[in-house]
């Protein structure tokens, strides 16, 4: 059963504790007490790594549980049990689906408009939930501006391309500007104060801090009824904290763990995750662009969609799909940064 239906019609109403709300619909979040073998001591260990509900547990890996001091065998068992319980109650899809069921599920995926029709067209409707969308490009090419605009458009009603939900902005570069969100909301004829109420910001100072925030993201998504998580940027602190080849392996491992956590949160909680990424010079490139996305294979493989942004003529910006399972890669979208956030390049200046 697709997630969007499950969110609207909570199948396990009254069965567990931790009843919460999401996007105006009530959702049951099973309590950890519903699992066999979870006592107070285990709950404490789970809480230490940001796991408070079955949904959090289903999004975690046995390795993370083992690192928190839980016996590895028990950790595997707990992850499996939580997943089975959520599947049996209809919260999660079964492990095995027919092609038709997968198609049905994809049809019901939700999308958030970017507020720019050419970008929406490029993304076939907007930014998807249950996926990690990566915006990559040089500085000043509009990554942060798209993120700020999404914080506004996510709050639009569904008929206008939003999800009528809030956003979480993980700010690693001190680039989040509430006044910019205010300006975008006002220019789009929305109530800026209300819009700002539904955007929550986590300022992150280093890579360990980022990992900590991502670990707690599940509970934040629940608490603030968010359907969009922005991490701007996902790589910045890792690049700064792990310099040199000797630290590359550890950096990539930690980056990988962070990205997988984000992906699992996106899938299990049905939220859209947007991350921004930087570029680096590629001295080995004889042909084509001398820059490439940073983060190596780990980042390339962990995100669902990769969109490359660059500066175009006359202060425009150009977006192109760089990696996607189904988007065409030869299409480009031109847009402009205005007081409304991002807009089509041919819109009024």
């Amino acid at each position: 059963m697709p997630w969007s239906i499950l969110v609207a019609v909570s199948p396990a109403a009254g069965k567990g504790e931790g009843r919460g709300e999401r996007g105006g619909d009530e959702v049951d979040v099973y309590s950890l007490d519903d699992l066999k073998g979870v006592g107070e001591a285990t709950k404490e260990k789970l809480a230490s790594i940001g796991i408070y509900s079955l949904l959090d547990l289903a999004a975690a890996s046995p390795r993370e549980l083992a690192d928190a001091g839980i016996d590895p065998k028990k950790a595997e068992e707990l992850c499996l049990q939580s997943r089975l319980l959520l599947v049996s109650s209809g919260f999660l899809d079964s492990e095995l689906l027919t092609g038709k069921e997968v198609l049905e599920r994809r049809r019901t995926l939700e999308r958030i408009t970017t507020g720019c029709s050419s970008l929406d067209k490029l993304l076939m409707g907007g930014v998807e939930t249950q996926a990690v969308t990566e915006l990559v490009g040089e500085y000043g090419c509009g990554k942060t501006q798209i993120c700020h605009t999404l914080c506004v458009t996510i709050q639009l009603p569904r008929e206008k391309g939003g999800l009528a939900a809030g956003a979480i902005y993980v700010d690693t570069e001190s680039t989040f500007r509430p006044e910019r969100v205010y300006e975008i909301a006002k220019a789009r004829g929305l109530n800026p104060d209300k819009i700002l109420e539904n955007v929550v910001v986590a300022e992150v100072y280093n890579s360990s801090h980022l990992q900590l925030v991502v670990r707690e993201l599940g509970s934040y998504v629940e608490k603030y009824r968010a359907r969009l998580v922005v991490v701007d940027s996902v790589i910045s602190h890792f690049r700064a904290d792990y310099v040199g080849r000797e630290n590359l392996s550890e950096r990539q491992q930690r980056l990988n763990a962070t990205l997988h956590r984000l992906l699992r949160i996106a899938e299990i909680r049905n939220v859209a995750v947007v991350v921004t990424n930087q570029v680096l010079g590629d001295p080995g490139a004889f042909f084509g662009s001398p820059i490439k996305p940073s983060g190596g294979h780990v980042l390339a493989h962990s995100t669902t969609y990769r969109i490359f942004l660059r500066r175009g003529p006359e202060d425009t910006r150009i977006a192109r799909i760089m990696d996607s399972p189904y988007h065409p890669s030869d299409v480009e979208a031109r847009f402009r940064i205005t007081e409304r956030g991002v807009e089509d390049a041919d819109s009024k200046k």
């Binding site: 690049r239 310099v243 940073s294």
Partner: protein
């Protein structure tokens, strides 16, 4: 750890000004925890950095890291430029110097250690600004220069974020014209929130905002307020001189008046008598000795006049009551 954007806006801080009006309008202030890179002509970036440090000293101590060839330059702070910047702001150069604590990195290897030491001080004493002078001094240098620079800035940014201070770094540029970039590793450029290219247009200094999260970019402006650093016009704009003189009178002269009546009289004089237009007609430049003497006399006179006015009022009151009594007695 996590808070609503509405709360952030409520606590909105326009940021620290650089003291260069045109630049502040372009950049909108230096924001806490954010990395601002001003790159281009050192003849422009250095005075602006010092001017921002002077502006920051009103708010609290200033952390300063100079990346320099110590054995060649033998100096940590360019006192001459700092003094000029202080005087342009109406500040006492000594006071400004006292508010600055600094470290120097003499090579790439020492950059990280120096940054660590400065970060410790930022955490201990607090800071209103973390200034990094000539960040590109050792880049691109030998092996590890990019790593050292990246680590140093990262260390300073973390400490500045905790202290609620902005980080302002200056750097040389590579390339020419509007497409010039900071001479810094690409990921450091990415890490910055604000990028400003500073270059000459004739004898004027010009700024081009290349990257900003909330201000329209790219955008350019001429920096006329840098007259004190010998750029553009050689005479400062009148309003600036007028404000500077007033500021100096308030800060330096007023505390010297021991009598509270005289202080009030001075405030009254400044408020009532001095106007920008009057001062313009009188071609006000610097306060001369004669001006100071006239000022002192005027203050004294003003105080006396106020006193006499009060006494006269009381006497008139008394006279009126006596007249009324006399009239009542006669009836």
């Amino acid at each position: 750890m996590i808070e609503r954007a509405s709360e952030l806006l409520r606590r909105y801080d326009a940021g620290l000004g650089t003291g260069v009006e045109e630049l502040d309008r372009l950049v909108g202030g230096l924001r806490p925890g954010a990395l601002h890179i001003f790159y281009g002509e050192p003849a422009i970036t250095s005075p602006i950095l010092y001017r921002a440090m002077v502006e920051a000293h009103w708010r609290g101590p200033v952390a300063y890291m100079n990346n320099t060839d110590y054995y060649g330059e033998k100096t940590l702070v360019d006192v001459e430029t700092l003094s000029a910047a202080s005087e342009a702001a109406g500040a006492e150069p000594l006071e400004v110097l006292e508010s600055i604590y600094c470290v120097a990195a003499f090579n790439a290897e020492r950059q990280v250690r120096a940054a660590g030491r400065l970060a410790e001080e930022v955490r201990r004493r607090g800071a209103s600004l973390v200034a990094v002078h000539n960040a590109s001094a050792f880049y691109p240098g030998g092996k590890g220069s990019a790593q050292a620079l990246s680590s140093a800035l990262s260390i300073l940014l973390e400490a500045a974020s905790e202290a609620g201070a902005p980080v302002l770094a200056t750097s040389l540029s590579r390339g020419s014209g509007a497409s010039a970039e900071p001479l810094l590793p690409l990921h450091v450029i990415h890490r910055s929130s604000v990028l400003v290219l500073l270059s000459f247009r004739g004898s004027f200094a010009a700024a081009r905002l290349v990257k900003h999260p909330s201000m329209p970019a790219p955008r350019s402006a001429l920096l006329l307020s840098l007259w004190w650093a010998g750029m553009g016009r050689i005479t400062p704009p009148f309003r600036q001189v007028y404000r500077r003189v007033l500021e100096r009178i308030r800060r330096v002269y007023r505390p010297l008046l021991r009598d509270e009546r005289h202080r009030k009289a001075l405030d009254g004089l400044v408020r009532e008598v001095w106007g920008a237009e009057h001062a313009a007609i009188g071609s006000l430049g610097e306060i001369t000795v004669l001006d100071s003497m006239n000022l002192a006399a005027s203050i004294h006179n003003k105080a006396e006049i106020e006193e006499l006015k009060k006494r006269l009022g009381k006497l008139e009151e008394r006279l009126r009551s006596l007249e009324e009594k006399a009239r009542a007695g006669g009836d």
